[in-house]
């Protein structure tokens, strides 16, 4: 477990919460994508998705390292990226629910990457303008990677949406399943207000336009249901995250305090 004093500090510091939120999104999405490694439908695409998982892991690490540095500076207690990733429990993770849902089939996986990647793209574009220092540097680096993730996943959404009858049907189903998890990304919560609050309606509009364009190109009807699930950002997750963390954190939990 994370030291109680660090835990309490995080609860009071919105900047740290925001960094953890960004980092958790990247890490959990990376975890899900990495589960495909060795099991993809086409060798080249296995490699491509693993590449994306690696990018996302790199983004998560940059953000955790930055958060750990700030925590160390502000509390005087030395904190590491691994403590933040491996020693927090479900309720302390701040990723959006969309990131933690199981992979489903290849269609669901590429669609999730498209929906979330597009959001990250517009978000990081804003962060390039609004953030400063380390966070701006991370945004500058990440945006290049995310640009590719969006292009790759959008291509797949179109290809599968407009491929065969079966692939189309599977994409319709995936869209139906994932759609109600998209709203949460676009509704800023308290710790997001400070930095990007003013731009959130712009991000939302840009995201909606991008999604509508790609869905249309892939012959996919835009969903109309607007009831949205939420809670992840504030630590209220689906049942899936507990299993994910149990697996991911196993060694650090079973053998506490060791170097690996």
């Amino acid at each position: 477990m994370l030291q109680q004093s660090i835990k309490s500090f995080i609860q009071q510091d919105q900047q740290i919460q925001y960094l953890l939120h960004l980092a958790d999104n990247a890490l959990i999405l990376s975890h899900r994508n990495s589960q495909w490694c060795g099991h993809g439908p086409i060798l080249e695409q296995d490699i491509a998705l693993t590449n994306i998982a690696l990018d996302q892991l790199g983004q998560a690490r940059n953000l955790y390292q930055y958060a750990a540095l700030l925590i160390t500076e502000k509390t005087g207690i030395s904190t590491t990226e691994d403590q933040l990733a491996y020693l927090r429990d479900v309720g302390e993770f701040k990723n959006c629910l969309l990131a933690e849902l199981p992979n489903g089939d290849w269609g669901q996986t590429v669609l999730r990457n498209f929906l979330m990647g597009s959001y990250q793209f517009f978000l990081y574009q804003e962060l390039q303008q609004l953030a400063s220092g380390q966070l701006k540097a991370i945004a500058d680096k990440s945006i290049k990677e995310i640009t590719y993730h969006v292009r790759w996943s959008a291509d797949w959404v179109v290809r599968l949406g407009d491929g065969t009858t079966e692939s189309h049907a599977r994409m319709v189903q995936a869209l139906e399943l994932l759609w109600s998890y998209t709203g949460e990304m676009l509704e800023p919560c308290d710790y997001e207000q400070g930095l990007i609050g003013t731009q959130s309606s712009y991000i939302k509009a840009a995201w909606e336009a991008k999604i509508a364009a790609v869905l249309a190109e892939g012959n996919l009807v835009h969903p109309t249901n607007d009831w949205m699930q939420s809670g992840g950002k504030k630590g209220l997750h689906t049942e899936h995250l507990g299993y994910l963390l149990a697996e991911m954190q196993f060694l650090q939990r079973a053998y506490p305090g060791l170097e690996w």
Partner: protein
Amino acid sequence: MEQTTNQLQVQFQKRVDEEQKIEPRDWMPEKYRQTLIRQISQHAHSEIIGMLPEGNWITRAPSLRRKAILLAKVQDEAGHGLYLYSAAETLGISRDEMYEQLHSGKAKYSSIFNYPTLSWADMGAIGWLVDGAAILNQIPLCRTSFGPYARAMVRVCKEESFHQRQGFECLLQLSKGSEVQRQMCQDAINRWWWPSLMMFGPKDDESPNSKLSMQWKIKRFTNDELRQKFVDMIAEQIKVLGMVLPDPDLKWNEQTKHYDYGEINWEEFKQVIQGNGPCNKERLEARKKAWADGAWVRDAATAYAAKKDIQKAKANSLNKETQQS
């Protein structure tokens, strides 16, 4: 005038002897082609199946740094598979045919990957021992007589030696760690040592394909020669780890200037090749499942590409018409 097969064969051997590379369009003996297809595709399959035992630990890596290293490593292996499938394709077999041979059990892959990865230390042991053995097998292949294979191996070898160093470093960290970590480390070495020795294949006097492969310079060292090199290398490196190899007969021989080592369990080797290793069925099932589950994706990609081609062709002819009118 038509050259006789005999003349062609003589010329071929002459080129091989002169260390000229044989390229896909060159004449080659049918047996040379078949031997290479078998060997390169087996090698490609090994890379792909080899992703599975290590892939097992990606989601459980104990630190973010280790996770990134492991994920990148397994991805490298996928890349190796890709280069090798491409090299084999130049010999006139398609990747789908090779997959088909793998899935039906007709094509083999390295038996080492039929052993389970039971602890985190296995990631270190595989990198150090398995990639280490692979390097010794593969370095001579960088000069193998068939051009595309040799060129693929140059790229592969660079990455493999990186993998070996990372594997060793992973074990080194464990060897300097807690009692539990040291035990983990020793246990992994115990389990991977003998199977790694088996990676060099049967003993020379029982290796049916070796002689011709040497003559054609597909192979340049015998199985036993390479195995000895490996033992000599690892017997020294393990001292740095402060661990031991699970072989009571292992000792330095002043006369031969090599390490002597104990008898390999060839019955186990045979059984694993025949499909009775601890994970043969799981490994193959995982690949078959990935292939079957991906069928609709590949179909859709093909259908979409065809649609786009038709649209493009239509647009082109429309363009021409408007230009002409």
